[in-house]
Subunit: 328 residues, 2 copies
């Protein structure tokens, strides 16, 4: 593999002149520039990123710490983050935590300052003490603890409220919620939006209609739905805190011959591609994932380049109404 030295020898100039050409330094004589460029071409020179970064004190990588790639929301987000990072010549390192405290801690620990320039975190269990980071970071979504790290995400209260309002506007009165969680900030906010929507329509908040979910997988949604259908008077609508829970809930409903949406309306959250093609298709709160990815990466880039502190960014969302609430 060719190094600057090889190129320099071939072009008959010093190593530094080649480096200057490679880095677009202005003051190089046209004649030398041409010779260097030919030599670069001839040798197929590619800079050694390790060496460059050692010298520059940068690594050229950012970390993306998320629960699990097999969760569609995070997979889609990861794809968008990779694309956004590419525009700043950053490569993305993905760390999976599987939503456990231990997993998140070990992911953070491995983020030595030499490995990545910055990190995008999507934590679920971390506590305030854990946020002693050695690199600039942003948080995706909210988090229960109050830490001085900027956040990128939607207004979860407003989004949840919009979802439940939609159900109320369709005439539903007994609306359940699946996905409450003791330690997840996001869950608390969505629950708050749910309460707010009920309150503004003067509907009662009923404890037994709020089902917690330890994980947000399809199986958890199905289990929660079964317990709701077992109630003496089951709900006529359900708001799930993510699409996977909703898909599981619809599956459980189908298994009990409960018709969606006529007997049970369902709303999800995340707007996974999967939800567009399910039968029935799923009404869902759609955060602008692309905006989230871009904002997170741009913020970090600005922080690393200029050292400026970061403001929080609120990204837009919309409600995608589909067959699970309004029959076609």
């Amino acid at each position: 593999m060719a190094t600057l030295k090889d190129v320099a020898r071939l072009a008959g100039v010093s190593v530094k002149t080649v480096s200057n050409v490679v880095n677009g330094y202005s003051f190089v004589k046209p004649d030398n520039r041409r010779r260097v460029e030919e030599a670069l071409e001839a040798t197929g020179y590619r800079p050694n990123l390790g060496a460059r970064n050692l010298r520059r004190g940068r690594t050229g990588f950012i970390a993306l710490v998320l629960p699990e790639l097999s969760i569609p929301y995070f997979a889609e987000l990861a794809g968008l983050v990779i694309a956004a990072a590419q525009e700043h010549e950053w490569n993305v390192l993905i760390e999976q935590t599987f939503g456990t405290l231990a997993g998140e801690r070990s992911a953070l620990a491995s983020l030595g300052p030499h490995l990545v320039d910055a990190a995008i975190l999507s934590p679920e269990a971390l506590e305030a003490d854990d946020f002693q980071l050695s690199v600039p970071a942003v948080l995706l979504g909210e988090h229960a603890v109050d830490v001085p790290i900027s956040r990128v995400g939607i207004d979860n209260v407003a989004a949840a409220q919009a979802a439940v309002r939609h159900l109320i506007s369709l005439g539903h009165q007994r609306i359940a919620a699946i996905g409450a969680h003791p330690h997840r900030g996001t869950a608390a906010l969505r629950l708050e939006g749910y309460r707010a929507a009920l309150a503004e329509a003067s509907l009662p908040f009923v404890d037994e209609l709020v089902i917690p979910a330890l994980n947000y997988h399809r199986a958890d949604g199905a289990a929660a739905m079964r317990s709701l259908l077992d109630l003496p008077s089951p709900p006529d609508a359900v708001f799930c805190f993510n699409d996977l829970l909703a898909i599981g809930a619809m599956r459980a409903a189908a298994e009990r011959q409960v018709r969606v949406p006529s007997q049970l309306a369902v709303v999800g959250f995340d707007n996974n591609e999967e939800s567009v093609y399910s039968s029935p298709s799923l009404t869902s709160v759609a955060p602008d994932k692309s905006a989230i990815a871009r904002a997170a990466v741009d913020l970090l880039h600005q922080r690393v380049e200029t050292g400026e502190l970061l403001a929080d960014v609120e990204t837009p969302f919309s409600l995608q109404v589909r067959e699970s609430t309004v029959a076609r």
Copy 2:
């Protein structure tokens, strides 16, 4: 951030001695070792990976080149590859190609020998000339062109044959296939398995029942299914070359009030988690993704460590029978 030099000063020994301790070199006096370890602890030393790799000529990264993370199969696979790579102290860099020739070429081009130690490729459009790689690599799945790179994957012909045999055993006679593709090796093999199953049951191969798909997304499956349902005599079963196509096909069937499985049986390929919870749930060929990920990473590790050439690895698969072929 502490460097070896800082630790050495604190422990009162040379830099190299500290390096020896860090790297587990045997011959260090117990007394010095203790002092160095204390100094390491006190300074919170973390090796600068860039510098280490520059010296060692390794990077500590492998690339995973795949079409798109938003495709569940690749998202799941990526998660497993990351986990497997961790066991060899490798970090994984994901590159998305979006299934285009240009995307794949640019991904390969960016894989300078300085960026990664090895690569796992899942190409769809590359031609033989493109495989001039500067690092050891393995291919996931088959590929049309014949290149001297080892492959990891299942026996696609046998797997497809098993899927279609299953449909035949249920009494279906007019079985369609969705997902033929002019340049995809995998598609060709699955089609071959489809033909073989028909042939061994003495069923005719009917051209109009084989629908090509340029992409393997849900929308493509839905479009293909619509064209099948428009036929004068539509099929009574369909074998889709991946689960997304199958999900799209089931969606299209539902929109035309065609009942699955009574009027139309559907089999997919990949066994996505999504397919377990769809309504009806989807019968699918289930490659052992975990085995694929592990085999690919282990093979590369062995190659990088020992320089040995790599043999192909055939991983197991099974057929998961669900409601889309056998009503519950």
